[in-house]
Amino acid sequence: MQLIKNRLRIATCSLLAIAGGAAAADGDTQLDAAMLFYFEDGRTDVFEPVLNLKHDLGNDQSIGVKFVVDAITGSSPNGATPTNHPQTFTSTSGSQGEVRKRVEVFNAGETPVRMFQDNRISVDLNYDRPLTRLLKGEITGHISAEKDYVSRGTTLSFTQDTPDRLTTFSVGGGANFDVVEPTGGKPEPLKNSDSTNHFGNANKDEYDGMIGITRILSRRWLMQLNFSRSRDKGYLTEPYKIVSILDQTGSQIYYRMENRPDNRTHQNVLLSSAYEFTDDVIHFSYRYYWDDWGIRSNTVEMKYRYELSEASYLEPQFRYYKQTAATFFVSGIIDGTTLPQFASSDYRLGNLQTTTYALKYGFQLEDLDGDFNIRAEYMRQGDDPHPGNAIGVQKNYDLFPAVNVFIITAGYSVNF
C-alpha cells in the first residue's frame, strides 16, 4: 500500500500547479534510449546501448548528455589476400603479465581474419542557446575511450533564421584530437610483419568545417544542402593491417605492415529533404563524397514513414552506397618490384558497395508513456570478387567475399 503521504504529494503537485499555471505541463527532460545488436556473418557481434538525455533549461536553452557503450567481439579481414596454400598467423594477447600465444591457420582460398575484442565507452555533452531572436549557438564536447584508442573532440555551431523563418543558415566547426595506442606499439610502415619493430603511440587530429542552408519549400516540404570539409592529420594507418607480398604467380610469400598517408582532406555535399503526404513522410538524402586519397562515393538514403494509426507507423528504409578505391589500395605487392610509398589492402579502401534494407515499426503502449520502436536491418557489402587487377592464382579465389550483416535496433523515447 502506497503511503497516504506519497499520494497526497502527487495530488498536491497538480493542485498547486494552478498557482504557477493551469496544469501540469509536459516534462522538460527528454530521454532517448536504444539498444543495437549487430551480427556479421557469424563472426562479429556488437552490442551497443545508447542513452541520450536532453534537459530543457528554460529560456530556450537546453543541455544534453549522451552515453554510448560499444561491446565488440569478433574478427575482421587483416588485409592478407587468399592464396594457394594455408596461411598461419600468430598473435599474442596479454593481460596483466599473462601472455597467450594464439595460432590461427587459414586454408588455401580463405580470407584471413584477425580476432579482436574491444569495449568502447563514449560520452557526449552539448549545450545550445539562443543568441539573438533568430540566431542559435550550440557547443558540444566529446570523449571516448577503447583499449587502444582515445578520442577527444569539440564542436561549435550556429544557426541563423531569416526573419520570415523560411530559411536557416548554419555554420559550424570542430576539432578532434585522438591518440592511437596499438597493442605493443605501432609497427614500422611497410616493414616485414615478422621483423618489424613496434614503438609508442601516435596522434591523429581532425578539423572539420561545415556550412549549410535549410529551406522551407512548402507547408509539407523541407530541404537542406550542406557542404563540409575535414582535414585529418597524423597516424591514419591501421596498425594491425597487413599487405600480402606475392611471387610472380600471385602466390603469397610473406607480409608487410600497411602504410597510409598522414594527411587526408575530404569533402561532402549532402542534399536532404523531408516531404509529407497526407500523413506519411518520405525522407530522402543524397551525398557525394571525395577525398585526396582518390576515394569518391555516392550515397542515396530513403525512408518512408507509413502511418498505420495515430499511435503506430511502419518505416521501410533503404540505403545504397558505392565508393571507388583509394589510389594506394592493392590486393598484393609483387616481390622484387619497387615498394610503393603507401599501400593498404584494407577492403574498406577498395571498390565497395553497401546496400541496406531495414524495416522499422514504431508504436505506443496504452499503459506506458513514451514511444517505442524496433528495427530489423539487413546490410550487405561487396564488390567484384574477381577484380581485373588480380594477379596469377589470385584470379582463382574470391578476393572480396561479401559481408552480410543483420542488425536489430530497439528504441524508446519519453518526456518526463
Binding site: L8, S14, L15, L16, A17, I18, G20
Partner: protein, 303 residues
Amino acid sequence: MTVNESLATKSVLTHRDNYWVGAFSAMASPCEILVDDVPHQKAIELLEIAQSEAHRIEQKFSRYRDDNVIHEINTSDGKEIVVDVETAKILDYAEECWKISDGLFDVTSGILRRVWKFDGSDRLPTLASVNELLSFIGWEKVKWKRPTIKLLPGMEIDLGGIGKEYAVDTTSVLLRKNTSSNFVVNYGGDLFISGPRRNGENWSIGIDDPKATGIGSIGTLSLSFGGVATSGDSRRFLLKEGIRYPHILNPKTGWPVVGAPHSVTVLASTSIEAGILSTLAMLHGAEAEKFLQEQEVKYLISR
C-alpha cells in the same frame, strides 16, 4: 487615506533583525509574512501580493459569503453547477483526499455543526438528528465530473479544512516568483517556509502549545523549509458521564472521535499536505501517533 478602505485591507510592515514582518488580517486569522532582507519597496510589494492573494482565496472559497462559487454550489438545490478551473482543481483534490483517506476526509461533512455545539456542556445531539444529517454527508453522493458538480438537495461543501493552508501555498508560489529571498508565510498558524535565512540560520517559529510532544524543541520550531499545519479541538468539547467528546467529528459516523489529541502539528512539503495529514491524525484518535509514524512525517502532538 480614504475612509472607505475596510479594515481588511490594513497591513503593517515592520523591519526587525534583518528581516521584514508584514502583518494583516484575513480568513478570520492574523496573517503574516516574514521576508529575509530585501529593499523596503520590495517588501511592500510582496506584502501587497500576499494580502491580495489571501483575500482572493477568502472571497472565492469562504462559505460565509453569498457571492462566490461555494455559495453557488451550496444553494444549487440539486442543479448542476459549472465551476472554473481553480475550483475544479480543488474539488479534484478534495476527491483525491477523500479517496486516499478512505472517506475520513470529507468536504461535505461541515453540516454536522448544525447539531454539534461544543460549549463544554453535556448536551449531546440525539442519535436520530445525527443520522438524519448523515444522509446529506459523503462525497460518494456528489456527482463531480470536471467541470460540473451536482450535489443532492440539502448537501453542502465546506473547504474550511483546507482553504487557509491552500492560501498559504498559493501565496508562497507567488512570492517565490517575485523574490529570490527566502520567506515565511504564516496564516493563523498554518505556514510555509521557503528556505533558510541568508545568514544560514533557520527561521524560528513560535507554536501555541508548549505541552506538545514529538519532535525536538518546545515552544518554538526551528525550520528551514517546508509546510506546517496544526489541527486541534480548540479545547472545545462536550462532557457527559465522564466521557469527553472533543470538537473532532468523524464524517462517517457523525460523532466525535473520542481519544483524539488536543492538537496535532505536522511538517510536510507544503502547508496543505501538512493540513490534511494533521486532520487525518486527529481523526485517528488514540492512534494519531501511530498513524503519523507510519506516514514517516515529523509531527508534534499535544494531548
